[in-house]
């Protein structure tokens, strides 16, 4: 059982940073609900943990988009050298070579590569506002609603990026580079 370095980095980008980020939104929504809507009293330590959680979520979003744009995307969009007819190592070219799959690039990747960036920007704004206003956010209903909307926007853009990322990697996986042997098979059955 082996995996290439490019496979591993792509998995880390999508199933590591991206999936953990998506899971993390539930906690962020809970923090907002408890703190700014339900008005639960929080201790200073609880507030610090919540702030750390939101900062962590924003950092995760930044790592996900930066790794996607500056590590995985160059592998994805690399142009095959002249004469190459096997596009297995050139995912963009592989997808656009057929009208049946070109939409995954023309719509999926073209949208994902841009809209994914709404997530770290919105999450950074959410973290900054929650940290600044703390337990007093509930006293500013307009601002509180804006924070919820920013969090929802970040969730949606992460979802779009995650969905198309998974589908793109299904039809044209980013592969190549040195192989990493994860486990040696004993040749069962």
């Amino acid at each position: 059982m082996e995996i290439t370095v490019r496979d591993a980095v792509t998995v880390l980008h999508g199933m590591g940073f991206g999936a953990i980020l998506l899971l993390g939104f539930s906690g962020a929504f809970f923090i907002l609900y408890s703190s700014a809507f339900a008005g639960h009293p929080w201790t200073g330590r609880q507030r610090s943990v919540a702030n750390g959680y939101l900062i962590g979520l924003a950092v995760l979003a930044w790592i996900a988009v930066l790794a996607g744009a500056y590590i995985v995307y160059p592998w994805y969009r690399a142009a095959p050298p002249p004469g190459v007819i096997d596009f297995a190592d050139y995912p963009k070219r592989l997808l656009t070579a057929s009208p049946l799959t070109s939409g995954w690039h023309d719509v999926g990747m073209e949208w994902k590569e841009h809209c994914a960036w709404f997530s770290p920007i919105a999450l950074t704004a959410v973290a900054a506002i929650v940290i600044r206003y703390g337990g007093r956010l509930g006293a500013f209903p307009g601002l509180r609603n804006a924070v919820v909307a920013l969090l929802a926007l970040a969730f949606l853009s992460t979802g779009v990026a995650g969905f198309f990322g998974a589908m793109l990697n299904k039809y044209a996986p980013v592969r190549g580079g040195p192989e990493i042997v994860l486990m040696k098979s004993e040749g069962h059955g």
Partner: protein, 112 residues
């Protein structure tokens, strides 16, 4: 220790953060559309060849976002602003930004 504070605070800094995020997103959308429509702009946005024009689109959007955040925060530091206006303006900017990054809308606007 409960999380209460007696420090006076206005909605200004929060509003600045919200509007700046929307301005950053709009910048990203506009640059993505312009880069798609005009090869010369796409070439100018190609700051790092392996990533292509996406590098310039996102770097510029981040710079505009941070600059807008800094300037609006300074301006609204101690002010109470009309949050309804800020929110609806931000919604409009985010909707336009999302539309400009959506390839079918990009194609429609370019008459493709």
């Amino acid at each position: 220790m409960a999380d209460t504070s007696a420090d006076p605070i206005t909605n200004g800094p929060g509003a600045a953060t919200v509007l700046a995020a929307a301005i950053g997103a709009l910048t990203l959308g506009v640059l993505a559309l312009l880069g798609d429509a005009f090869p010369k702009i796409s070439a100018a946005l190609n700051l790092w060849k392996p990533t292509g024009a996406l590098s310039g689109v996102t770097d510029a959007a981040i710079l505009v976002w941070l600059l807008a955040w800094f300037l609006l925060s300074r301006r609204w530091q101690a002010r109470t602003v009309n949050m309804k206006a800020v929110n609806w303006t931000s919604v409009a900017l985010f909707v336009v930004a999302a539309a400009f990054t959506f390839p079918p809308t990009m194609d429609l606007l370019q008459g493709k």
